[in-house]
Symmetry: C2
Subunit: 568 residues, 2 copies
């Protein structure tokens, strides 16, 4: 008898399970159901549709060969039954059947299954303040939302917007509104940085500055209290802890929450993080029911804790695993190291593992290095700067996180991905120093930025390099009378000497050995060069001459200038 | 007493050892000697200087902060003594002193050492045919060669050139001559493909086609017999096994050979590959003598055999290891997995591990998959195709090699580097299927090309996917009356049906299930789609209907078109 397989949810994981299973098992009856009429789409493409990089909504549910992935496509090309506008309302685990409701007719029926797959995804978190349900307040969870916002903008109805939440979606949507549509956009975040669950302060600062440079008004540590309607002007009034704005639309981007009701009501285990619990074969607590995608919790392979990680790429990989297992094979999904990337205007940002804050919370003793260096050979014309923050555990020397940013997003991702794939293998600092990535001047440096991130961390752990990061330095410099020893050339240092007077000393690198007697020894000195290596070298030299009270500004002037463009 | 450290060779590894050692040991007397007057330069940048991407020769020996790395720089900035135009002639290991000759004065002297570092590099192989020493025959081993060639071209003296050897340097120099200078360039290679030691036939074919498309005349399986002078026309006459050319210059790019005389004459072990033997601390058979860079042999961490790998990036990483060890620390250089990348006109090419041929020779049972897919989400406007060939050992399922090419070299390198860094960990096919690299539509697909390379290989190993690569298919198609079943749309197939008649069948994917009775079962069928996944799906479906005699053309039409642009 052919196997009956029912899959609830037809966006990312659901179709992947169905298609792979069809290829492995030509006999199975595969039924894919979804509440929506639009299925099998690239949800991660929504901000690009809103922003205009993707013109037609259809492009998000077309294959790379331009076939529209609708019911008919799944039937004729794949031999898969699709039921749209159908909601799963109840699992009868004992009877192995799923109760569903046809949303248009109201009819209910039971679908029998041998194996059931729950791919119910996640829904946007609706923050608890009054007014989040007003008509001009949107989420961007599906294609219908996207279309509504875009058509409002296309009709010229939107001049000002507030986006609430500076996570990934909040940033992408802010860019979409600002960049193509020229909408005056204010992004409100209650934490003190952008992407607080994804980035540490250095790369977050740099990202925030890029947003501001491109015209987004960014309000951190600010909480939305309520939204009210101004029906006279067709506007919303957003009241925050510090401000009041009248805007045409509000976009809620306060994160997502796994859709677990169906599972929970059937008595299937839900984990501490709020996602459905699954084993390494993506099986739930019921051996005939699998789950995957945004509705499950995953093991974080760095921290060892379970976590939520709503990402289409993980859903796809899990879908393949589920299909293999349903068809009688054995395949494992071990968890995630939290690899992530995003484009924010002209910046590519990429990360994997834990942030410094998360590492502390998880019981590591984190230490980090920040480096800035060109992605390609510095003499090659196409090079752009990459900024990397690499985090290790002090005792074990194991890498526990990496974050990076730069204008060439592919090159940024290249560096982070090499560490990401090694995290589960317990890569240590020494391995990063010698990491054998490809080298040719158009694509890398002989000692690449990723190796130098390892080298810097190695030197910090050995005590040779006593660092301060650019953000901390800027804070200190703004609040105390600290002194900088600038070891760049006289020309580079001159405007700073003029602006900051006695706070700014200059001894160019090639004169440091002969002028070492001029170096003040009675107070801390912050050593600065272009990108960090020379100030490190100066620090080592000064240490050898007994001048120990120095801090090496990590990433040098290059890092300062992206952390606070107004410093100069 | 401060340590006396003498370093022979001041291009890549030598300066790295010197500078790192200075930072670790402020007291040591460090002396760096070189036969040349130009030192510490980016030798890998020579083709870009010749080709004009790098304008000034100085840029190749300037730091990223624009300081010229000369004797004075090393003295004042680093506290390192540099002796240029000085040749090391003999090591007195018993007396721990190095005999050197000042090339300009002829004077000789001894330099005492506690630790000696041999960084003598490699020299171009001069092929044994007559005429390789003629004045218009050049190598491109150092900056002087580069300057000579460039000044000839700048004076308009070069209209035609022959480059001998289609290894990395041969390709880079051919591009440099053709691209900026418009020189009619013929590249002669005695093997049957470009980069025979670096690439398998699929990616090599694709590279060759790019060269030809950009105007280079590529002659494979052709041997140079002699070069003679035509002094009347200021030309060389190159006679090969098949042709005779009159050209203005000849560039020899027949590989390099490690400079081991100094070591050999001192009785230091030289390995089977011809490079100086070193242990994991980069120590030679003499405990007071280290060696590194292009003059040593390295352990290939995939094959387990020792090999030569002349690459500035490896030299730099080794330099750091040597300095740590000399200063009393413990650091290891374990070997290489042969990671390599190169730009050839508009193509970025990247590889790691063994080629199919090398894998066979080393006793593996290699099996490979070829995939073509966009580097970014297919709906995102900036996407470019990436072509990947992934090789595993059949029995162990361990990955032993990867090769890739594409227009976005950073994106190509990103994929290859993730596998490269895992090779020494014994990564298997399953790990590649689930590889957690960063995903966002501007930078990757939800199921990225690297995952799909793993998936394809997994399906091949499982017997679900019975592949033929594009090059083999094209050969068969040209020589036999084989039949293609094209499952793309009618419009895509029409020109091929017109051109190839009965050899070309077309049943679009969405009709395959209803028209399966039309599929011929009495002869082999070559299944074709755009990039491979649909023809694989068709193959699986046909198999389930008892039609087993099919081959899935790997990488689909996308791969065919770059393998043989004239096929259409």
């Amino acid at each position: 008898m052919p196997k009956e397989v029912v899959i609830v949810g037809a966006v990312a994981l659901g179709p992947k399970v169905a298609c792979r299973l069809r290829r492995l098992d030509p006999e199975a009856n595969i039924t894919l159901i979804d509440r929506d009429n639009l299925i099998s789409y690239g949800g991660c493409g929504i901000p690009y549709y809103v922003g205009g990089d993707v013109n037609d909504l259809e492009d998000l549910y077309k294959t790379s060969s331009h076939a529209v992935r609708d019911k008919e496509f799944f039937k004729s090309c794949k031999g898969i039954n699709v039921l749209t506008r159908v909601e799963a309302t109840e699992i009868d685990r004992f009877g192995k059947k799923l109760k569903v409701k046809h949303l248009d007719s109201g009819e209910e029926e039971y679908l029998a299954y041998d194996k059931l797959v729950i791919a119910t995804g996640a829904s946007p978190v609706i923050p608890p303040f009054p007014g989040s349900d007003l008509p001009r307040v949107f989420t961007v969870a599906d294609l219908h939302d996207a279309e509504k916002i875009k058509s409002l903008m296309a009709r010229g109805k939107v001049g000002k917007a507030v986006v609430i939440g500076a996570g990934a979606i909040g940033l992408e949507i802010s860019e979409a509104l600002t960049d193509l549509w020229g909408i005056e956009t204010t992004l409100v975040e209650m934490e003190d940085q952008v992407m607080p669950t994804l980035l540490g302060k250095c790369i977050a600062r740099l990202t925030a500055k890029e947003m501001e440079k491109k015209g987004v008004t960014l309000l951190l540590s600010e909480r939305v209290l309520q939204i009210t309607e101004d029906s006279e002007n067709n506007q919303c009034v957003v009241k925050t802890s510090h401000n009041t704005f009248s805007v045409d639309i509000v976009v809620l981007a306060a994160g997502v929450r796994p859709n677990t009701e169906l599972a929970k009501n059937a008595g299937i285990s839900v984990g501490m993080s709020g996602g459905i619990a699954v084993d390494r074969r993506m099986k739930t607590s019921d051996p005939n029911i699998y789950a995957g995608g945004d509705c499950v919790e995953l093991r974080n392979l760095v921290s060892g804790e379970n976590m939520l990680m709503a990402l289409g790429s993980l859903a796809n990989r899990q879908g393949r695993v589920i299909a293999t297992n349903i068809s009688g094979g054995q395949s494992h999904f071990q968890g995630t190291v939290g690899t992530f990337c995003i484009k924010v205007f002209d910046l590519g940002i990429s990360k994997a593992g834990l942030t410094y804050r998360q590492a502390k919370l998880t019981g590591f003793d984190p230490v980090y290095a920040v480096v800035s260096q060109a992605d390609h050979a510095h003499f090659y014309p196409s090079s752009e700067m990459v900024y990397i923050s690499l985090i290790a555990d002090r005792r074990s020397r194991k890498i526990i996180g990496i974050e990076a940013a730069g204008k060439n997003g592919d090159a940024v991702k290249a560096r982070v991905d090499t560490i990401a794939v090694l995290l589960r293998h317990g890569v240590d600092v020494d391995e990063v120093c010698g990491l054998e990535t490809g080298y040719a001047p158009p694509f890398a440096s002989a000692m690449d930025v990723i190796n130098n991130a390892g080298n810097a961390l190695d030197n910090i752990l050995a005590g040779h390099n006593r660092p301060v990061d650019a953000a901390d330095f800027l804070f200190e410099f703004a609040h105390k009378e600290i002194k900088v020893l600038d070891i760049r050339g006289e020309k580079e240092a001159a405007p700073f000497i003029e602006k900051y007077g006695v706070q700014w000393l200059n001894i160019p690198q090639d004169q440091l050995r002969s002028r070492v007697s001029e170096v003040p020894t009675d107070e801390p000195l912050y050593l600065l060069c272009d990108t960090g290596p020379r100030s490190y070298e100066a620090q080592v030299y000064l240490t050898s001459r007994g001048i120990m009270n120095t801090y090496n500004i990590q990433g040098g002037f290059a890092m300062i200038v992206v952390t606070d463009p107004e410093f100069i």
